[in-house]
């Protein structure tokens, strides 16, 4: 077993990473050890990243132990860069986290300074000079190449930077040149934030943490009004709203609300929010209080301003939208569905049920197969998924069954129509899929069924199987 991480005291005492545990124990008898758990580390880092949302919406993970915050445009909220950095250090150390950080003009340089220097706020004017003074390790290239550079007598980043690029790339690979370009800001590597940047966001920072839920609600109300005022100026409404609650102890709770139509007022939002709060598995707990409450329109959409007409249909459509939103929030979006046609002949795939909050009705669509006027229904009202196997007795091998047994009841067929042959979609299915011959049957009691035979008599080696797929009215 080897050491994977050390605290400050251990590092000072001369222990190092990759050192064997037995060696370390030999030096220090009562060494305090904990087993490494990359999963728990990652979870903690995620939590910290959530917490860092208070500084900027653009937070990205940087390796297994770092966070990258894009603070462009957020600094003035905290005074200046120095104050922002101090705030991060102070708050995180309160939570028992040791932080090293750097603020620079580009992400790669910030990464290098945070890890390989004491870290600081580095102005753009001083950036290149300071970069040149960094040790070669900061390049974070492969050990072989690093050793190669050292053997050539190079010590700092500056030493390497002055060398001709072509020669460097030829000798040490393109990786080194890329690294240099990134550090000096010649190549731009965008960070990938963990969360979608909201279209519009409002927040309230409290001097004293809020504990009483009533006051939380008041704050939310004020935030909602502000959010919708801002959205209204852009003629937009929110399709997805996220309320974030930052607790003083570092917990961040997020509650997301999706709506089928753009929300434009606080009242509707609150109704949905209340509905959501009642269905939460673990209730919203203020604990020691919230110090930041934020409301963000994650997805916004243009609203169509409609004149309140004398005709009540507009209002009724609105009400239906509200109902769909409420049901979706209570039961889950995957349970409130609208059918949409899919261009396929395979019956069970011909309908796709999509969350009603994500779709809008009123687009005229064609449903296959088209029914001819005056003809009886060709498709059942209820479809079994999966189809249920039945035992049949056929009059002639290739024809409709004369009788069949389904759920232990025998049905004697008096009327039959078919076959309607539906071939498998070879471009989609595995090789074993078989052609289906569908029949519409009616038994002597008047029950109408939709059954199919899987496979063809003339081709298959085994006897084809029969299934009941649906019930007609």
């Amino acid at each position: 077993m080897r050491l994977t991480a050390l605290d400050e005291r251990a590092a000072k005492a001369g222990l190092f990473k990759t050192m064997a545990l037995t060696d370390a124990r030999a030096q220090f008898e009562n060494l305090d050890i904990a087993f490494a758990s990359p999963r728990k580390d990652a979870a903690l880092l995620e939590k910290l990243a959530d917490w860092c949302d208070r500084y900027t919406p653009l937070v990205a993970l940087d390796g297994p132990d770092g966070l990258m915050l894009d603070i462009t445009g957020c600094v003035h909220l905290f005074g200046d860069e120095h104050q922002l950095r101090r705030d991060i250090h102070q708050r995180l150390s309160q939570h028992g986290v040791v932080v090293r950080s750097a603020i620079t003009g580009n992400a790669a340089a910030a990464h290098a300074f945070a890890r390989h220097s004491p870290g600081d706020v580095i102005e753009d004017s001083a950036l290149k000079e300071k970069l040149r003074r960094l040790r070669l390790v900061s390049l974070e290239i492969e050990d072989v190449h690093l050793a190669g550079l050292k053997r050539a007598g190079l010590r700092t980043v500056g030493d390497v930077e002055v060398l001709p690029r072509a020669a460097l790339a030829a000798r040490f690979g393109a990786g080194l040149v890329d690294r240099l370009d990134a550090l000096f800001g010649y190549a731009h590597h965008p960070i990938s934030p963990r969360r979608i940047v909201p279209a519009c966001m409002v927040e309230r920072r409290m001097a004293e943490p809020l504990i009483v839920m009533d006051s939380v609600e008041l704050v939310l109300h004020a935030l909602g009004d502000e959010l919708f005022r801002q959205l209204q100026q852009r003629v937009e409404g929110a399709r997805e709203v996220e309320a974030s609650f930052f607790r003083v102890d570092g917990e961040v709770r997020r509650i997301c609300i999706q709506a089928g139509r753009p929300l434009t007022d606080t009242k509707t939002l609150f109704r949905l929010l209340k509905e959501r709060l009642t269905t939460l598995a673990e209730p919203l707990d203020a604990g020691y209080g919230f110090d930041i409450i934020r409301l963000a329109a994650v997805r916004a959409e243009r609203t169509q301003t409609m004149q309140k007409s004398l005709d009540s249909t507009v209002q009724e459509t609105e009400e239906i939208g509200g109902l769909i939103d409420r049901l979706s929030i209570r039961l889950g979006t995957s349970r409130v569905l609208r059918p949409h046609p899919v261009d396929t002949h395979i019956p069970e795939r011909a309908v796709s049920l999509e969350p009603a909050v994500h779709t809008t009705a009123n687009l005229p669509v064609e449903w296959a197969p088209v029914q001819h006027p005056g003809e009886p229904p060709e498709r059942p009202v209820r479809l079994f998924q999966p189809p249920e196997q039945i035992e049949t007795t056929a009059g002639i091998p290739d024809g409709a069954p004369a009788q069949f047994v389904w759920r232990r009841v025998r049905h004697n067929i008096v009327l039959a129509e078919g076959p309607e042959r539906i071939a498998p979609e070879w471009w989609r299915e595995h090789a074993g899929a078989l052609t289906r011959d569908y029949y519409r049957l009616e038994d002597n009691q008047g029950h109408r069924f939709w059954v199919f035979r899987e496979g063809l008599y003339e081709r298959g080696q085994t006897t084809p199987r029969w299934y009941l797929h649906g019930l007609f009215a």
């Binding site: 249909t313 209002q315 009724e316 459509t317 609105e318 009400e319 239906i320 109902l323 769909i324 409420r326 049901l327 209570r330 039961l331 349970r335 409130v336 569905l337 609208r338 059918p339 046609p341 019956p347 011909a350 309908v351 049920l353 009705a361 009123n362 669509v365 449903w367 296959a368 197969p369 029914q371 005056g374 009886p376 229904p377 060709e378 498709r379 059942p380 009202v381 209820r382 479809l383 079994f384 998924q385 389904w406 759920r407 009841v409 049905h411 008096v414 009327l415 039959a416 129509e417 049957l441 009616e442 002597n444 009691q445 008047g446 029950h447 109408r448 649906g470 019930l471 007609f472 009215a473």
Partner: protein, 262 residues
Amino acid sequence: MVTTVDLTALRRDIASLSERNALEAQAPRSAFGFGDRSIDRVLGKGLQRGALHEVFSAEMHDAGAATGFVIALALRSSSARSPLIWLEEDFAAQEHGFPYAPGLKHLGLDPQRLVIVRCSSPQDVLKAASDSLGIRGTGAVIIAPWSNPKCLDLTATRKLLLTAQQTGVPAFLLRLGAVPIDNSAVTRWMIRSNASRSSGASAPGHPVFDATLIRNRQGMTGHWILQWESDNHVFRQIEPVSGAVVSTPAHRPPQTRKSATG
């Protein structure tokens, strides 16, 4: 520039508007018929629109017929483009098949109108039902819990009925795998499949229901053989096919009480 206003045209427009409004007001929003004179005569003005109607499938194999009958009633009772909310308990769908949009289309229902709500428990079904009934824009609500859940009692159905009466939204309780017990439904139907008129070449024809009105708080009960015509959304009473077996349950006597027509 002088704007000339054609006063007579304007007057005509206004007159036509108010005429239409008057027509709409006259149209009985409070009831809906079957489209067949003989039944509508028996039921008086038809069935009450803002009310709770209960439809049972007589046996397991009649689930398709009961579903079709409910869809037909929903189509008769709602305006052409209004949304239809179908609340179905998961178990009912697993046991009797899932609502299938292309088939509903063939019954005359535009699937675009449909909102299917899948509920994992009968409580969810009832809660969603009372929400849906409370919205005036809803065309009709189909409530399909499975079997006889405890929560579907007199109080629960009474609440649904009151909400439906307030908003005028028709509510249909589709009872699959259930037996009738007393509740607040205004009408109660027992539906079984019946032999269809073959559309030629021994192919099954239009849906035919054997419909027994076993309870009607507002009038007569009765028994009819009805064919649903999906093209023009009407029921048509037909004579039983001679020789075809109209099944009579062995364990239940045929309804005779206040029966209006054979």
